[in-house]
């Protein structure tokens, strides 16, 4: 390496030394000859003669150093730079085209790398296994908290949460085989810093989370066993490095200080290292506490409750244990634990599934793997188009340099040298494109991250380039350079000297070699992308015009959680009643109500329900049902119609009869005969709890997802449930957003210590829910436009080049009496087959490509006719313009100037 470095920078020095050495030799020899009695001048001459041709020896010396290729490369580089400098327009177009293609790919690959490929930044990540479970007989759920994320494997839902007592027992029992640790993302929690309440992202972990991951604190300590296992653990928290820097300015004296979490005080004992974002790529946290500390702060009382499943588990295998052994052991022990409990007999035992945890949690990858692959594939198509485009330009350029190239060959340049010269130029272009692309990647990158946003919050990713990124980017660029540079280079090295030299002086005729292939490729590729973009635009349209089942207009929504400010039991109910009354009385408010969960916010609770048999037989199982806790006035406010019976009233309190409303879908299941379900009894869960009397039937409404069907839903009065946080709905007479400040004022008057958050209009919330679809659609539509542009420029470039080269031919035709109109037809007709063939290939490729897209589309089938028709029309128009302009120009050529051309 040093040698190469020296060879480049000490080039002059090397030459001087070489000359010096030769001179010394000659002079020393001459001196010797003089001593032997030669005349001085004659001696010098003789010495020179004996040495022979100095230049020849020098060249041999240079070659002997083995660095000749480097010298040549330097020359090629200078030559390429000079050539591009002389042809700035060509260079600019080529570099911009490549930068677009490379930039799109680099941005997407950075994301793919971060989400799908990078291992967790902990030692030996390959020993990590995430623990999931699957219930063979689906439908029934035997856990009461479904906030844990479930993912699908085929039709089976795989879940990843366990109860704390189960986790604690499993951790102790499995200790010889694996270091089992638990964690649960807390979402945003109320943190009081410097006397001010704010929301921070919380994470609850078992005490051994950090020791098992082998993450050492940046400052202070991580957790010790007592932080979790003590009956009443001391409340201690760890802060993420970024949160510490942003909120406390990196103040080291923070250790030992107290911050408020909920209505409690917790002591900061440690700062996590920078770059550690937890085990879920994309779900980062600010404040970390132990599971039991969180249980205490949130007063959830789930620590000893084996029915509340909320702890996610991961394990680090001990040396010598295989994943299969751990899986079997975990399953046996879990089933034993479940058997020991009295109430689970009619559920099948869950099956344990281990998923490789090297790169962190699984669900995020599974969720975005396909969209990312799709986007990556599309970006590669764009890059291919860009390369084809630049290839066309290069080809045209090398054609116009035929005289120069043939002169070089005639003067004895090696054919390989000529090809290398051209390839060097491609390389320079590609590297410049890479530089521009990396810049653009930064711009595209932020747009891409929104693809992964959930509930309006973009996740944090470590998009910083690593060695893999650098290697792939460089390799990709080189391959691109090969794609567009190899053929022109190969062609110019294969130049037939005779014809080329003869042609050099005279008129050049004929078309651009491969021109038709270039046109067809451009047309085909852009057709694929346009059809895909059309499908996505239609998907957005379809999602927008969906039947929601509720009325989003004039609706302002926000969330509040009085339990985070210390409210308990009846106080919570009173708080909500007060808030509802104050909001309803505020000016501009037509209706105000609240519910445990809002629409499309991602929260949901579902429980197994069964319907009591009126003739006294055993209850009939209905499967999992979504449960909502609502306030009076809810249905009127959100616009879900009440079809029969009555809604919730203020008199439905803890002491009153338990009542419930069901949606139409559930009503059909309850009374398949179409009779009225009102007055029947619903029973929750697997325990004979107090039954609920059905008091009303509502319309069907979508809740969690626009794409999924309406779920089976029940509504219970909030006063009869253990409601904690809630989403408020305010129906205004005017613009809902203009109500925001009024609402804040009212809520602050009710109690300023309760933070309210996520305030937006319901329509905005719907848009947010479609964020991913929309981002994907925008991205693909953008790619489609880009492809169209590239295709138009490419087709235009190739055709106008061909027309220019045929100027003299056209002149002859005109001089011989050809009609301009006939000439135009001729030129258009000549390019038509390429466009048609390219289009046909494009349609075939699109048929295949849209099949890949199917799961992203909504209400649109692959090769959806309007998208295809639209894409063909748009592309046809672009191709027509790209063809007609050169044809028109050609027909306007004056015969005389055409004949004189060159």
């Amino acid at each position: 390496m040093r040698k190469i470095w020296r060879a480049i920078w000490n080039r002059q020095r090397f030459e001087d030394d070489l000359a010096d050495e030769m001179r010394f030799h000659v002079e020393a020899r001459a001196a010797d000859l003089e001593r032997a009695g030669w005349d001085k001048a004659k001696a010098l001459r003789e010495a020179r003669l004996e040495l022979g041709a100095a230049e020849h020896h020098k060249e041999a010396c240079r070659q002997a150093r083995g660095l000749r290729w480097l010298d040549e490369f330097r020359l090629d580089l200078l030559y390429a730079l000079r050539g591009l400098g002389r042809n700035k327009a060509f260079a600019a177009v080529a570099i911009a085209t490549l930068a677009l293609g490379i930039g799109a790919n680099a941005a997407i690959f950075a994301l793919v790398n971060s989400v799908l490929l990078k291992a967790l930044p902990v030692p030996n990540p390959e020993q990590l296994q995430a623990v999931y479970w699957v219930l063979p007989g689906e439908k029934k759920t035997f856990h009461t908290n479904s906030s844990g994320r479930a993912m699908r494997e085929g039709n089976v839902r795989v879940r990843n949460m366990f109860s704390y007592p189960h986790f604690e027992r499993l951790r102790a029992e499995l200790a010889p085989k694996a270091d089992l640790f638990g964690h649960e993302g807390l979402g945003r929690i109320n943190v009081t810093v410097h006397g001010q309440a704010q929301l921070a992202r919380g994470l609850a972990t078992s005490w051994n989370y950090f020791s098992a991951l082998r993450v050492a604190p940046q400052l202070g300590r991580t957790f010790v066993p007592e932080d979790e296992t003590a009956a009443t653990p001391a409340l201690v928290v760890l802060l993420s490095h970024a949160y510490w820097r942003n909120t406390f300015g990196g103040d080291r004296s923070i250790l030992g200080r107290e911050i408020g979490i909920g209505d409690q005080k917790a002591t900061v004992v440690g700062i996590l290292p920078p770059g550690f974002h937890g085990i879920d790529p994309g779900e980062s946290m600010d404040v970390v506490m132990t599971l039991t500390a969180w249980d205490q702060i949130s007063k959830a009382e789930s620590r000893n409750d084996a029915r509340r499943w909320w702890v996610k588990m991961m394990a680090r295998l001990q040396p010598g244990t295989t994943a299969a052994q751990l899986r079997e052991e975990t399953e046996t022990r879990l089933v034993n634990l479940l058997r020991a409990e009295p109430v689970r007999e009619h559920y099948d035992a869950p099956k344990i599934r281990l998923i490789d945890g090297t790169r962190g949690l699984h669900w995020m990858r599974q969720e975005i793997e396909k969209p990312l692959q799709l986007v990556m594939l599309t970006a590669l198509l764009i890059l291919l188009m860009a390369a084809v485009n630049v290839g066309g330009l290069m080809l045209a350029r090398s054609e116009s340099r035929v005289p120069e190239t043939s002169a070089r060959l005639a003067l004895g340049a090696g054919r390989l040298r000529v090809a290398r010269q051209h390839l060097t130029e491609s390389l320079v272009l590609a590297l410049a494109g890479l530089a521009g692309g990396l810049f653009l990647a930064g711009v595209f990158g932020s747009a891409l991250v929104s693809l992964l946003a959930r509930g309006g919050q973009a996740p944090e990713f470590n998009l910083l380039p690593d060695a893999r990124f650098a290697a792939i980017a460089l390799a990709g660029t080189l391959v691109t350079a090969m794609v567009f540079g190899l053929y022109p280079a190969w062609r110019s090295s294969r130049l037939q000297l005779g014809p080329a030299m003869k042609r050099a002086g005279g008129a050049r005729t004929g078309r651009l070699p491969m021109g038709k292939v270039l046109v067809a490729t451009q047309v085909g590729l852009s057709l694929v992308l346009l059809i895909a973009a059309g499908g996505f635009l239609r998907t957005i349209w379809n999602l927008r015009s969906l039947t929601l089942g509720f009325t989003p207009d004039h609706l302002l929504v926000f969330s509040a959680d009085p339990t985070q400010a210390g409210y308990r039991d009846q106080q919570v109910v009173d708080y909500y009643n007060r808030a509802q009354q104050s909001l309803s009385a505020a000016p501009g408010v037509r209706l105000a109500s609240f519910s445990r969960y809002g629409f499309l916010q991602g929260g949901a609770q579902s429980t197994g329900f069964s319907i009591g048999d009126s003739k006294g037989g055993p209850p009939r199982d209905l499967g999992g049902v979504r449960v909502h806790s609502i306030a009076p006035g809810y249905f009127e406010t959100v616009g879900v119609p009440l079809l029969a019976g009555r809604s919730v009233r203020n008199s439905d309190t803890q002491k009153a009869q338990r009542v419930i409303l069901i949606n139409q879908k559930l009503a059909r299941l309850v009374r398949p005969d179409g009779g009225s379900p009102i007055g029947l009894t619903l029973i929750e869960g697997d325990r004979a709890r107090t039954p609920y009397e059905i008091i009303g039937v509502t319309g069907d409404a979508k809740y969690n997802s626009l794409r999924d069907d309406v779920p089976l839903t029940v509504y219970r009065p909030f006063a009869q449930t253990n409601i904690r946080g809630a989403t408020f709905f305010v129906k205004s007479s005017g613009d809902p957003l203009s109500m925001a400040s009024t609402v804040r004022r009212v809520m602050s008057a009710v109690d300023s210590s309760v933070p309210i958050y996520d305030m937006r209009t319901q329509e905005e919330q719907i848009s947010l829910a479609m964020e991913r679809e929309r981002s994907l659609a925008k991205l693909l539509a953008g790619f489609g436009v880009l492809a169209l542009l590239l295709a138009a420029v490419g087709v235009y470039g190739v055709l106008s080049y061909s027309v220019t080269r045929r100027t003299s031919e056209i002149g002859v035709r005109l001089a011989l009496g050809a009609q301009p109109a006939a000439l135009r037809t001729m030129i258009v007709r000549e390019s038509l087959p390429a466009v048609v063939v390219g289009g046909a290939c494009g349609l075939y490729a699109a048929w295949w490509f849209t099949r890949l897209l199917e799961s992203f589309l909504f209400g649109v089938k692959p090769m959806d006719e309007p998208s295809v028709a639209g894409a063909v029309a748009v592309l046809g128009l672009a191709a027509a313009f790209a063809t007609l302009i050169p044809a028109y120009r050609a027909s306007r050529v004056s015969p005389m100037s055409a004949l004189r051309y060159e």
Binding site: F24, A28, A31, H57
Partner: protein
């Protein structure tokens, strides 16, 4: 005196040998080779320098600018450890070759 043509590859060996006797500049190496071969070999003076460069690039020789006996700036070559090892190996190989060749060329019908 009749000068023999140099066999291909032998120049490298001769250079290594002559430098092994002490650091020397290019012209000195030429003189020394002529001296130790008793002027019996014809050395192409120009071929000397590419050979030197090759050996230097390969790491057999070290080069340093110094002052010659007549107070002029000259490039002095010396043997590196690698070069010493190579010299030893090549001398061995050469000896085996010449012995085998001599034996073969002196063979007579009776000895078979």
């Amino acid at each position: 005196m009749a000068e023999a043509e140099l066999l291909p590859g032998t120049l490298d060996l001769l250079i290594l040998k002559s430098v092994s006797l002490g650091p020397q500049h290019g012209y000195g190496i030429l003189l020394r080779i002529q001296q130790i071969t008793g002027q019996a070999l014809k050395i192409e003076q120009g071929a000397l320098y590419p050979a030197l460069f090759k050996l230097e690039t390969r790491g057999d020789l070290d080069a340093e600018w110094g002052v010659s006996e007549n107070n002029r700036r000259a490039k002095f070559y010396s043997l590196t450890a690698v070069g010493r090892k190579r010299l030893k190996a090549e001398v061995g190989a050469w000896t085996r070759l010449t012995m085998a060749m001599t034996a073969a060329l002196n063979a007579s019908a009776e000895e078979l």
